[in-house]
Symmetry: C2
Subunit: 341 residues, 2 copies
Amino acid sequence: MTRSKKTPSQNISIVDVAKASGVSITTVSRVINKIGTVKESNRVKVARAVKDLKFQPSVFAQRLATGKSNVVALVIPRYEGVFYSFYALELIRGVGTMCEVLKLDLLLHLTDARTPLSLRGVGGVIFSDIIGNRAQLEDSMAKGMPSVVINYYVDDLDVSCIAIDNAGGAENAVNYLVELGHKKIAHITGDVKTQAAAKRLEGYKRALEKNSIAIRQDYIFETDYSRGAARGAAEKLIKAADPATAVFVASDAMALEVMAVARELGKNIPNDLSIVGFDDNPSGLYGPVGLTTVRQPLIRMAEESVKELNRLIGLGTKSVKKILLPAELVIRESCKPFTGE
Amino acid sequence: MTRSKKTPSQNISIVDVAKASGVSITTVSRVINKIGTVKESNRVKVARAVKDLKFQPSVFAQRLATGKSNVVALVIPRYEGVFYSFYALELIRGVGTMCEVLKLDLLLHLTDARTPLSLRGVGGVIFSDIIGNRAQLEDSMAKGMPSVVINYYVDDLDVSCIAIDNAGGAENAVNYLVELGHKKIAHITGDVKTQAAAKRLEGYKRALEKNSIAIRQDYIFETDYSRGAARGAAEKLIKAADPATAVFVASDAMALEVMAVARELGKNIPNDLSIVGFDDNPSGLYGPVGLTTVRQPLIRMAEESVKELNRLIGLGTKSVKKILLPAELVIRESCKPFTGE
DNA sequence: CTGAAAGCGCTAACAA
DNA sequence: TTGTTAGCGCTTTCAG
């Protein structure tokens, strides 16, 4: 069985197109790559042959010849809390969509932080968050690989990054509660191993300080972003001897759980407890009272990261950009002014 | 500026390794590809050179030379309801993890069903569901591309597929309700454009028929899998003149919404309404009463699909497998025997 | 404006 | 066991 033309487009190469259109392969290459210096009549001939033969250039040959790759690797730490989230899906959606637009190939790497990444054949890398896998980032940079980090603001490395202003967003949320008259404001954190959760906690503290409200350790509940942990925290929070009148929760998913617990314990939201979440997860819209929350531009962050990476790949240079996107408060119905004494 | 060795491993080629170890590139190639016919002493020499030089073969050159590609494309229709789900994330996680294990590259395609897929350089394709993009599947098959479809049982095409027994799972769920004594059993469907939702509806009807319970159109509420739609359906269902005593809901996310609505309307779960969901979404574990549901082995389905694709790619043949994975009932607290007259 | 020819880095007969 | 050599399909000088 000789290697015959089995499937159209499978074996059609630039040579076939060249023959069919009566020019050299060089000229065909020029047409493919839209290099202007081709006589119109030839361009048309080649174009028709390409159509007729359903020719699609081999990406491998192209990449081998040019040494360039338009593969974008998206690296997501296979970290329980992080991956199972609204965040992960939004991210993949944003990055995926922008890659389709820019004609980039998206390679997905779900990595345990330990194994070194295989970056062969990759043109650039997007690191989604940095959780224990800083070594992978540094490795990538050392290889001269265009890299951008998202959802993590990298201070001490010369790398492009795009993150959300988590501290600022948290501060807005808490300020809002303060303006409503609350003084006893609790915080249910996310997993503080993530920068996002750590920054939200930081913003919470800063807002209290600026408003001269003492920080009470018994009002801070550390969790891992899971609903189970949120439930536990909520129970403690509500049953406390001197309970808070408002709570800022590090994610909407958790905030919804807090709402549920409150209701089960006979509390009314927002009359007995004001709640602010973080994410602007559409789930927060349903349920009896809309969840007041902090909106993070996740899709935009994801899209920007692809654009930035594309810029870096194209440029070949190392000009680095650090972007912090604002997070904005979205007021719905889960907060009430504090009317106690 | 000449093209000098900028970064180690960037320009190291098989030639360098051959020189360093004093053998031909062929021998190096043999060592890389673990072809046995190499004298041990040479194998060691080459291995050391590879280590020292941090040589990593160029995947492009390899693929160009062999004509093979180990890139797996995962095609997910960019379809609102589908992508925003527990399902999508589990799927990506399962496929992603198995690809890392089998050393396959995972290419993610979020596609609108219209644009023809660019499959150049891809070794095989996994179609997640088929929603309006059957043409893409047929195209892929026509090109002789190893293809497998998941979450959609394809009857009429000679293609491997792995799906969940949605009809069977639904039947189990409804049978369980019948066994509990319920006669008025409603169903809130998912988006029946998806096969999964259609099959669940089918299973619901079949179970009723087998139990000689008349199917009532006013007990069937069609939705699009969204929480908003679930809410609307739940309100109608509960406020109906002759309300059902039990409901089988096509997804856990929706079932949770139904629970919430019921509570808001002063109903007690499970005393006033028994609820069964579908998915075994961990969210169903929290909340005051655990959600009885149908567990689908999503991760397993995802993993199997990669294995199957890998088999097809390796085999080169066209032996097709069609697998239906069982969906099992998980009993928790959201259902009670019917004690009415 | 065009084409010949030299690679890109690797694999796979085929000889030795 | 090993090495020689001919491609894989395309891009890119460099001469026309």
